[in-house]
Amino acid sequence: MKPFTRDQMAARLAADVPEGWCVNLGIGIPTMVANHVPPEREVIFQSENGVIGMGPAPAKGQEDPWLINAGKQLITLAKGASFVGHADSFAMIRGGHIDLCVLGGFEVAENGDLANWATSENDTAPAVGGAMDLAAGAKRLWVVMDHTTKDGRPKIVERCGYPLTGLGCVNRVYTNLAVLDVVPGKGFVVRDLAPGWSLAEVQAKSAATLHTN
């Protein structure tokens, strides 16, 4: 009956990432995904600031101040890593060369719309970063987020209420209660439920219909 923890959500998502994909991970839970991909399964982690092939976090005392990711955390390089500038990095993103992007979300709608950057049209200085480029450009976009807000409001919705990051861009959502595919023309389709949760219970915490295939 316990929802997935943040770490469990990241692990659940990581299990679905096949070898060979080039993956961009957003800030927060998405970044934790890398820790759950076993080292023998080669996945290429790309960062917007021009790092292609990030390794694990550096050991204490082994930090290189010249190596950071898009979240400004210190990183290491994997064997085979390369560097490009920002324009080339986003050319890679915009051009559809990233197999998977994982982002956090405020809301995901059944038409695949994502809202994850601003909480109102009058947000003072909302920070978009690279989210819109990733949403528009990545081959696949998976969102990892809690199923509801802290005060229980559903984040799985029919239509987003918050300003959009991208239109029809989300392919799958990993929440602390379920894994949902976003199927064009149909909406949310349940792939998986957190252990001990029933469809009815998860549906009750959602503001859009959850289909079962």
Partner: protein
Amino acid sequence: MINKIVATVAEALAGVKDGSTVLIGGFGSVGQPDVLIEGLIEQGATNLTAVLNNAGVGRVGVARLMELGRVRKIICSFPRSSDPVVFETLYREGKIELEIVPQGTLAERIRAAGAGIPAFYTATAAGTLLGKDKENREFDGRQYVMERALKGDVALVEAWEADRWGNLVYRGSGANFNPVMAMAAELTIAQVQHIRELGTLHPHMIMTPGVYVNRVVQVDRGGDWLKPEGEA
């Protein structure tokens, strides 16, 4: 384990379909994927659109591909060469279609395809024959033409070194069209002189990250081409 290295040229070119748009790297003889072009002749795909800077020299390589009637259309900046006999004959006989694109516009159209940019504006060709059938538009008092992205089904590129991730390091003036073409095709195939252990190519020397490359085949072009860099 990621391993983009294939054993033979035939394997590298497997599956190229009739009707494909094929981007072919190189400028002059440098950076030209000559072994892959021979492989494409063997492979048999036809009704191709070839995108490259020139229109072939003599009766080998791309010229041979054209002579065999396998190229429906050529998109290039400079259909002349030291010996353009095949192209000129086919063109005179109306057997090949030609689209002339200014060299910088050609490179940028290919980059745009790789970078997810469907169209851009350039002053190149504005007010000329090559700009007249295109959308013209003024920005800040100057005339520009709109150019569309040029995407390939296949890219054939050449590099000096590669690793099993498909990372490519170019040599001398051998980059030229190769990095943008590698970005802009569904299937990018690289011929390289040397395969290196993963992690031994310098991260700042890799001009084409392996993310853009699908298959790598090592070839021996022999002779002067194999001398180490810096040794004439």
